[in-house]
Structures are given as C-alpha cells and as structure tokens.
C-alpha cells in the first residue's frame, strides 16, 4: 500500500540546535511528497513539497527537506530550531489516480528554551 511513516511520536530539541523530523515513504512510481505544520488549534499549513528536481527542497520558515530515493526518505530539517517551531508536523504522499494525499501520523516537535 502507498503510504508514509513517521517513526517518532515526539522530537525534543534545544533551541538553537538542529532539528530533524523523519519521514519514510512507500509508493509505486515517482513519489510526490509534502510536509505540513499544524500549530495549536489551527489547520495544517503547507511547508514544502518535492515533485522532481533537486533532492534538497527549501520551504517556509527556514525549513528544508532532503529527498533520498535509495533510503525512501524525506526528512524535514532546520539548522537552528526556535521555540516557535514547536508544533505538529505531518509528512504526506500523493496517491496516484486519486488526486489526494495520504498523511502520516504526525510528529510533535518540542523546542526547549
């Protein structure tokens, strides 16, 4: 089945340290991958997407993601985390033939001052 997996429920990181949120995917064909962020009591907001091209994708709020085909991964990264980055992060993959996204379970990120 086509899906994404986010293996960690929560990621804790000290402010100023690098932040990584992990995502692996399983699709048939070329993957189209997305990251979204959800702040408390809000809907999801788009961060970035990989469709084709460079393996390193840059997005909003200083985030970037690295597409790795051999490891079937699409990890989200930020060089220096801010307290305001504390939120829920979702990885998603486009499902062929249905024009819809399948989402992972989400990762809670806690940035410690």
């Amino acid at each position: 089945a086509q899906s994404v997996a986010q293996p960690e429920d929560q990621v804790n990181v000290a402010e100023g340290n690098p932040l990584t949120v992990k995502c692996t995917y399983s699709v048939s064909g070329n993957p189209y991958l997305f990251w979204y962020v959800q702040y408390p009591n809000r809907g999801l907001q788009f961060l970035l997407k990989y469709i084709t091209g460079d393996n390193l994708v840059k997005g909003s709020y200083g985030f970037e993601a690295e597409f790795n085909k051999s490891q079937t991964s699409f990890h989200l990264k930020k060089p220096s985390a801010l307290v305001s980055d504390s939120a829920l992060y979702f990885c998603a993959v486009f499902l062929y033939g249905n024009n819809r996204l399948a989402f992972g379970k989400g990762n809670q990120v806690v940035v410690i001052p």
């Binding site: 189209y32 998603a92 996204l101």
Partner: protein, 115 residues
C-alpha cells in the same frame, strides 16, 4: 484560513442525533476533502469530492455521508452520532496537487464532542 471556512467551529451533541458540518470555499477549487484528526492516528480521510455531485469514500467513511450540490460547499453528515466520532474534523481544498503551489489548503477545523 483564506478562502475556506468551516462551521461550526465547536459543537457538542448527544449520541444518536444527526450532525452536519459545513465547509465553504471561495477559491472555486475542484477537489474538496473531509478528514478527521485523532491522537495517534494523524489525519484520516472520510470522504472527498472531485466535482459537483461527485463524491467518493475515504478510509473511515462508515457512519458518515457527504453532499456537494455546489462547487463552494461540501457538507459532512454524521447520520447518528456516536462517541467514537468525537474528533476534530478538517476540510481541505485543492485544484490539483500537480499545479498548485501548496497541495491542499486546510480549514481551521471543527471540534465535535459527542456525549
């Protein structure tokens, strides 16, 4: 969120009663989706629509129905609410993930409590 509105934002209802949630968009997007969000499950698709009067089931459609009589409105109905349907419901819209810059645009959600 700009261009998409969900109503109501909060609702408490009793077991066994019907409930309708509304999603309204001003973007004229073709695709509309209803998700529910629960701890440990992330977002799960309930139903989606690919045009007026064109809808299909998602992965957790039991107990839910939808209607789309106009491009801008997508209604989600819980036919007879149960406590297991206590959740946060999100509507999303897209024209096409192939062409749009940000895939889906999400509404702010409806928090539904079934007592």
């Amino acid at each position: 969120d700009a261009g998409i509105t969900q109503s109501p934002r909060h609702k408490v209802t009793e077991t066994g009663t019907p409930v309708t949630l509304r999603c309204h968009q001003t973007e004229n997007h073709r695709y509309m989706y209803w998700y529910r969000q629960d701890p440990g499950h992330g977002l799960r698709l309930i139903h989606y629509s690919y045009g007026v009067k064109d809808t299909d089931k998602g992965e957790v459609s039991d107990g839910y129905s939808v209607s789309r009589s106009k491009t801008e409105d997508f209604l989600l109905t819980l036919e007879s609410a149960t406590s297991s349907q206590t959740s946060v419901y999100f509507c999303a819209i897209s024209e096409s993930v192939w062409d749009s810059n940000d895939g889906y645009t999400f509404g702010s959600g409806t928090r539904l409590t079934v007592v």
